[in-house]
Amino acid sequence: MWRTVVPPVVFGVLLIAAWQAFVVGAQIKPFLLPAPSAIWQMIHQNPALIWRASLVTGGNALVGLIAGALVAVVLAGVAAAVRVVDHLSAPIVAAIAVLPIVAVAPVLYTMFGAGSQLPRQIVAGIAAFAPVFLNTLRGLRQVRPVHRELMTAYAATPWQATRAVTLPGALPYLFSGVNVAASLAVISALVAEYFGGPQTGLGSLITSAAANSGYAAAWAYVFGAIVVGLVFYLATLGLEKAVSRGGRTA
């Protein structure tokens, strides 16, 4: 605990101190680089606004992450079981993995309506899909031959084998995908706000503040985004710990 918490905290404090010293020492104008103290002041002035906007953006990211991960897991299951599906979906999955948000977000707003949060959630879901799908598929393929034969020896039904062996074995892989997907979902939900949807999230606030050179305020909202990302990251780590107690895969 000590060893995992103290070094990053010390590093973070040093980083912020150096940043502050640089801004103060070199008399950097706030429109070039805001001082941490100024950012903190903005956070302090407007915690309720940051909180509300974080809930909106975080909520979209969460919905997208859960939906994207669920679809990815189900599809990975099908692809692992049916080779044809795997080969058919390969180019589409590869394309989804390289889809830029800038390209899909405007299109999604047109397809699903610009007044709702859904396009943002879809963007987050698309971003979360690829890492979870690819990792889970790898995990599902990683079933050890001993375990597979054990299930045959027990005359287990396919569903029993899936539940007893395949799914639990794939969990660590699934989670390493979810870990990556978590921060991707947050950033994607946020960037998607740029192209439409209700102006209630962190993305809208950041652009708005930045366009007026209000970088201290902008970074106060970025701080909100970082905290949301951190919460997602820790939550997925915690979930992984809780679900996959008992240690490594073989």
Binding site: R144, V146, E149, L150, V165, G246, G247
Partner: protein
């Protein structure tokens, strides 16, 4: 023998049609096992020991010939759960506790929870792991893991036990203790055992009969009937007896072809 044979392998061949060439893993192998009999398969790497065991377990099908288990087809015997099996690697599920690993076959076959619980407790006691019921496999030593795998193989009181080098990963001392235990367990439950091993002393110590195989194509070259006394009485003393050494020497010679050592550089696998 008045009973139906536990295992009846008749003129079985198994040919693997690999990419470029075909490998004859078993060629015209016949073998029968009486109920309660303990038979070891020994032979160099690649002679088809595992293949034979897998055919009996219906994890693989013969290219020709028939395998019957307790008078049924191997498949029927598998579906009826007539055998328990243990592989070289313990093959425990790392996300299940020791107790849950042992309970796995019972769970899969819908044994009610209460019956399951008492059977697991029995088995834990049998392999001396009562205190480790709620440990996870990675918290156990290799020997303890192997014992869990054996308990799992015994869970449904099978009349036939199939074991593929189950002690390969153990150190000599633990291994010898496990051997003593296995002989006792087999005698107590009256199960027939097919036991694959690379170790001559192990085969000799455990078995009623040792079957020596040779590779390419996999064939049975010798069967050696041993008379080392009733299972229950085997122990440390036996390992140091002259009878034991004589039997070991006999198997060694059957195996190595009367001292004709192969030249270095020719692999046997």
């Amino acid at each position: 023998m008045t009973d139906i044979d536990a295992v009846q392998v008749e003129q079985v061949s198994r040919v693997f049609a690999g990419g470029r060439r075909t490998v004859t893993a078993l060629d015209d192998v016949s073998l029968s096992l009486a109920p309660g009999e303990f038979v070891s398969l020994i032979g160099p790497s690649g002679c088809g020991k595992s293949t034979l065991l897998r055919l009996i377990a219906d994890l693989d099908a013969p290219s020709s010939g028939t395998v019957s288990v307790f008078g049924k087809t191997a498949q029927q015997a598998r579906l009826d759960q007539d055998y328990g099996i243990a592989f070289q690697q313990a093959g425990l599920l790392p996300w299940r506790t020791v107790a849950a690993n042992i309970a796995l076959p019972l769970e899969l076959h819908k044994v009610p929870a209460s019956a399951r619980k008492s059977r697991v407790a029995e088995l834990l006691a049998l392999v001396g792991l009562e205190d480790f019921a709620s440990h996870y496999p990675d918290q156990l030593s290799g020997g303890m893991q192997q014992r869990v795998a054996i308990a799992r193989a015994l869970a449904e009181k099978p009349r036939l036990l199939l074991m593929d080098e189950p002690f390969g990963a153990l150190d000599e001392m633990t291994r010898e203790r496990m051997q003593t235990e296995l002989v006792r367990l087999a005698a107590e439950t009256g199960a027939a055992v097919v036991f694959v091993t690379h170790s001559i002393p192990e085969a000799v110590f455990l078995s009623d009969r040792v079957i020596v195989m040779s590779p390419r194509p996999g064939r049975i070259t010798r069967e050696i009937e041993l008379g080392l006394g009733p299972a229950a009485e085997r122990g440390e003393r036996l390992r140091e007896s002259t009878d034991f050494y004589a039997a070991v020497t006999a198997v060694r010679e059957a195996l190595h072809g009367e001292g004709a050592a192969l030249p270095v550089g020719v692999e046997t696998r």
